[in-house]
Amino acid sequence: MIWVNALVQGVLLGGLYALLAAGLSLMFGVMRIVNLAHGTLALGAAYLGYVLVDSTGVSPFVALVVVVPVMAVVGYTIQWGLLNRALAMGGLAPLLATFGVAIVLAQLLQETFSADSRTLQVGTIGIRSFSIGDDIFVGWLQLIILGAGIAVIVGLQLFLSRTGTGRAMRACSDDVETARLMGIDSRHMYAVAASLAIATVGLAGMFQGMRTQFAPASGDMLLIFAFEAVIIGGLGSLWGTLLGAVTLGVAQVVGAQVDPSYGVLIGHLVFLSVLAFRPTGLLPKMVTA
């Protein structure tokens, strides 16, 4: 039964990774940008939440109402002011620009908040759980995070496939020159995609802050997990990203069940074996961005 419990915990952890990875997958799918600042932006959101909770005393869940829209504006601004210009330069410029954002933001966080670990206090919901049978325990917070992860992936998928803006975004992803001929302002569309991506990673950062600790340097690990989830699932497919996130979560928790120090390592090994044996990922791109 401990293995079944490990499996369940892995799926729950996968929900957080899905939230972290969804925006990375979207930005790569729409504008082929690998956003190296993704993990650090998640941290930025967590620190913003920390400041709000600290100064007003509201619950982190209430702080989400402010943090997520602020992150959406941040995403729009970064894309419009920086990454659109970098894209016009071509080549490695966008990658380097996001790398720069990651470094500057991480240093700013360290200057402002010191290197100490923080956490977002959510009260008893953070530790409460219910049990299925005698051996399987499901934390309420973990379940909420998994629900949010699935909702974000499903929501983005519906947005891309059902709405006019979503279709226009996919058209930009296919062929941006022709999309502009259709009257689509590609730079605005890219900025909307980035704003969605950064809003979702803001949500991920807040949840990460609620379930554990964070420090200015922990963005790299978040980025790596998100990146692994995207690659395991298959580039450019949101359903793949969800599957990849759950696979990574299960690999880490089951690995940790074997030996507590193996968790992250087993996750990396699963990632590497997907790269070696199925480089297109578990669910390669089918229809959408």
Binding site: R170, S173, R180, L181, M182, G183, I184, A289
Partner: protein
């Protein structure tokens, strides 16, 4: 008043000059064919009208406004639509989604999904198919339908017949009368002179970025066209 007035434009690709002091007038409802060999500047002209290239000299007036420096994505709502060379269908979108994207900035007018499907029965049959899985003729029909979805005043057709089987070319051209019947002005670029002559009210022949021959299909002879097309005779250059 002319719908389109092009006045002495120069257009460059980087250092290479593709059009030299090019000018033309196009009346509302007219169908003009631009013919010429590869590299004559035909596609450059259409790209300039669609806003993908900007002239380095001269002006383009559309419906009375100077649009020389209006960005490409703002020209659709003014009534200019281009079916680009190579069709450029969105490959991961279905045929119907391609059409809907064409109507993203649609103006009021007769063209919508239903009327496009009526004009192109072939497109209606393939509506759920992915853009990546279309034959050349199907893709061309979708590309034209996609441009019509914006209800353009001026439709720019680039190399409609290029790479298509004769039967597919005939189908595409069969749809043109339905387009012009709605009052849409058509600017057609072709290498295939016969098809161009069939549908055009007027034709211009381009050679190395300059107009070398102009007239109605009745007023110019095949020999004149051949000479202008290949730049054989000095008196036409």
């Amino acid at each position: 008043m002319s719908l389109l007035e092009i006045d002495a434009i120069d257009v460059h690709y980087g250092d290479f000059q593709a059009l030299f002091g090019f000018g033309m007038r196009l009346c509302e409802g007219e169908t003009l064919a631009i013919i010429g060999a590869n590299g004559a500047g035909k596609s450059t002209l259409l790209k300039t009208l669609a806003g993908q290239l900007w002239p380095t000299a001269g002006t383009i007036r559309f419906a009375g406004d100077d649009i020389s420096r209006v960005p490409d994505h703002r020209r659709v709502s003014r009534g200019i639509a281009l079916t680009p060379e190579g069709r450029r269908i969105f490959r991961s979108l279905t045929v119907e989604e391609n059409l809907r994207v064409g109507g993203y900035r649609r103006r009021p007018g007769p063209w919508d999904l239903r009327s496009v499907y009526e004009a192109f029965p072939l497109v209606a049959d393939r509506r759920t198919r992915l853009g990546a899985n279309l034959s050349g003729g199907e893709a061309q029909a979708v590309a034209i339908g996609r441009a019509l979805m914006s209800n353009p005043r001026l439709l720019l057709l680039d190399e409609v017949s290029l790479g298509l089987a004769p039967v597919a070319i005939a189908e595409v051209y069969a749809a043109l009368p339905a387009i012009t019947a709605n009052g849409t002005t058509v600017l057609l670029v072709e290498q295939d002179v016969n098809h161009a002559l069939q549908v055009a009210d007027r034709l211009q022949c381009l050679l190395e970025g300059r107009v070398v021959l102009e007239g109605t299909p009745d007023s110019v002879s095949r020999d004149d066209i051949a000479a202008a097309y290949f730049g054989i005779s000095e008196e036409h250059a």
